[in-house]
């Protein structure tokens, strides 16, 4: 496959995307290289590794990672693979340690990645092993944004600050509304859906359209308010990021599962306004969104969840999903957020159950040779973008728009066809990159 062929798969101007990008192994291999080995990927939340020696497992694409705090307290991220034979040096999901000892031959690495122990150094390597060259393989760049840990394998990638760009305006809503920021509830929902990772990223980046149908049971049961999901707008934020949601919340949004959290935020509105300004205090919740490529969030009345869609082959994703709460919230509010999250989301959640059904059956229905010839329709709201005062990014007139997905796939195409980061526009939507009218 030649990289120029990708232009036939994604046509943003006409709102067309080929099913091939959700199915074909060769395209998937290109993604692992050009997207997952280059972009800033979400690893973990700082609250998961507070002390030196704390570690937590993560993935970057299909590569298993160790994220830990070294003896100096710095956050580090390494491939979880011994430099000798490749064995996974850590097989726990989280914990505390001084060192990682490989169970195969015993090479031992400290939490700064340094090779500190090698059996048979004297009578096997005759002291000629250059130990300093064989430390754990470390990411090229690691940075945090308000408690969120990201890393990239590409030394040429723009800084995390530039990469997140205007998305920070929305991330602040989730993790910096109140003093102390956010923290993660213990435990991770992990499950597998037989569908390409982009189905989920695409769904979260800009798809409110599916909610009344996919999650019609949630509306029928009163868990989702039709009024709430119909307000607001979608935003193509730039650099492939997107979010959508209501532009204000009021007392009528206080349905039962949502009320403790919304009430808590309302009671603290003065502080939120002071920290984030009048406009964001009114928006209050970040809504649904994806930070390109595979880190998504849902910040809605009742709870906040972060999730990563790990690629596991062209037709498979592994979901890691967390429940996130305001650190400052009283225990009963945290508990209500936790219960609201797990009743609706995660593999057992009555809302999220139906997404997996749709994405897996999309995959089954598009696998055939003939279906792959016909493009998918991403035309909703095409050419209707508008700029709203004070709101970063290109916005849609109503919540019913696929502007977020078009921004996502435009960045996907740019990265898939760009040999280096310097060939990619990193200016974001605010830099005059509009969608062309139809």
């Amino acid at each position: 496959m030649h990289e120029q062929e990708f232009h036939q798969l994604v046509n943003i101007e006409q709102g067309l995307v080929s099913p091939r990008i959700f199915i074909e192994p060769e395209i998937y291999e290109w993604e692992l290289e050009r997207i997952f080995a280059r972009c800033w990927l979400y690893l973990a939340h700082e609250s998961q590794i507070p002390e030196p020696g704390d570690y937590v497992a993560a993935f970057m694409g299909e590569d298993p990672m160790i994220v830990c705090r070294d003896p100096q307290g710095h956050i580090r991220a390494f491939l979880n693979s011994c430099t000798h034979r490749g064995m996974r040096v850590c097989r726990e999901e989280a914990g505390h340690t001084k060192a990682f000892r490989c169970p195969y031959h015993g090479w031992t690495f400290d939490t700064a990645g340094k090779l500190i122990g090698v059996p048979r150094l004297n009578d096997g390597y005759f002291r000629q092993l250059e130990k300093e060259k064989w430390g754990l393989i470390e990411v090229a760049q690691l940075a945090t944004y308000k408690g969120l840990i990201f890393a990239s394998w590409d030394p040429e990638a723009p800084s995390l600050d530039d990469y997140l760009g205007d998305m920070k305006w929305y991330i602040d809503l989730m993790v910096d509304r109140l003093e102390g920021g956010s923290e993660v509830i213990g435990g991770v929902h992990k499950w597998v859906i037989p569908a390409n990772w982009k189905f989920a990223a695409d769904n979260f980046v800009g798809d409110m359209y599916h909610v009344p149908v996919s999650h019609g049971s949630g509306l029928a049961l009163g868990l989702i308010s039709e009024r709430d999901i119909s307000r607001g707008f979608q935003v193509s934020v730039g650099n492939g990021h997107g979010r959508g949601g209501a532009d204000q919340w009021d007392v009528e949004s206080w349905s039962d599962p949502a009320s403790p959290h919304l009430k808590f935020l309302y009671e603290n509105r003065e502080e939120i306004t002071h920290r984030l300004g009048q406009q964001r205090a009114q928006i209050l919740l970040a809504g649904h969104g994806t930070i390109f490529p595979n880190f998504s969030f849902l910040d809605i009345p009742g709870f906040l969840t972060f999730r990563v869609w790990h690629p596991r082959g062209p037709e498979r994703m592994e979901i890691w999903s967390w429940c996130v709460v305001e650190k400052k919230a009283p225990p009963e509010v945290k508990n209500m957020m936790r219960l609201a999250y797990l009743a609706q989301f995660g593999p057992g959640g009555v809302v999220e159950q139906d997404d997996g059904e749709n994405w897996s059956q999309c995959t089954l229905a598009m696998r055939g040779r003939v279906r792959r010839r016909y493009m998918l329709n991403y035309q909703m709201g095409l050419g209707r973008q508008q700029v709203r005062p004070g709101i970063p990014g290109q916005t849609s007139p109503t919540i019913w728009s696929e502007i977020g997905q078009r921004g996502f796939y435009r960045r996907w195409l740019e990265l898939m066809t760009a040999p280096r980061w310097s060939d990619v526009n990193t200016g974001g939507e605010s830099n005059g990159r509009d969608e062309s009218p139809v």
């Binding site: 509830i185 592994e318 995660g346 997996g356």
Partner: protein, 163 residues
């Protein structure tokens, strides 16, 4: 109540309950639960079950009302994950009565739940349940169920079934 009787009562209850679930007689299943039932599947077999209440994720943390909601959902016409419905088979074994009185049985059991759906979808769930059965108006009812899955990453696209 002697040990043999307790074992018999526990087995009879659990087998009948499994039959109701597999025949999708969910309303009748709901009648087998006490009004204050706690139906709980923690995340992470060990640390999840050991964490203080309210500080760890669960896959299920239901009471009778939320279980009723799950069953009601199936009739909304929008429960796509269960339309067409799953074919389930609950195999309950290794039933041990850990403690018993005339009014209460503490029972642990192993399970294998098979789920078939559509043409080729197949899932297998394996684990252990710790139940409390309580006698209400002369009938045994399920008052608490802790479900400990032996899976870590759930290999299925959802948990749209009951255990």
């Amino acid at each position: 109540m002697d040990e043999m009787r307790a074992q018999f009562e526990a087995e009879r209850f659990l087998y009948r309950e499994a039959k109701l679930l597999d025949e999708r007689r969910f309303e009748e299943w709901l009648d087998l639960l006490t009004d204050d039932v706690r139906y709980w599947m923690p995340v992470g077999n060990l640390e999840g079950a050991g964490a203080p209440d309210g500080q760890h994720l669960s896959y299920f943390e239901d009471n009778k009302q939320t279980l009723m909601l799950r069953i009601k959902r199936l009739g909304t016409g929008f429960a796509h994950a269960e339309d067409p419905p799953s074919r389930t088979r609950h195999l309950i074994s290794n039933i041990v009565v850990e403690a018993f009185t005339e009014a209460e049985l503490k029972v642990s059991a192993n399970f294998i739940v098979f789920r078939g759906r559509l043409e080729t979808e197949e899932d297998l769930f394996v684990g252990r349940r710790e139940d409390v059965l309580r006698k209400v108006d002369g009938q045994w009812k399920l008052a608490a169920r802790k479900i400990l899955l032996d899976h870590n990453v759930i290999g299925a696209k959802n948990l749209s079934l009951f255990f």
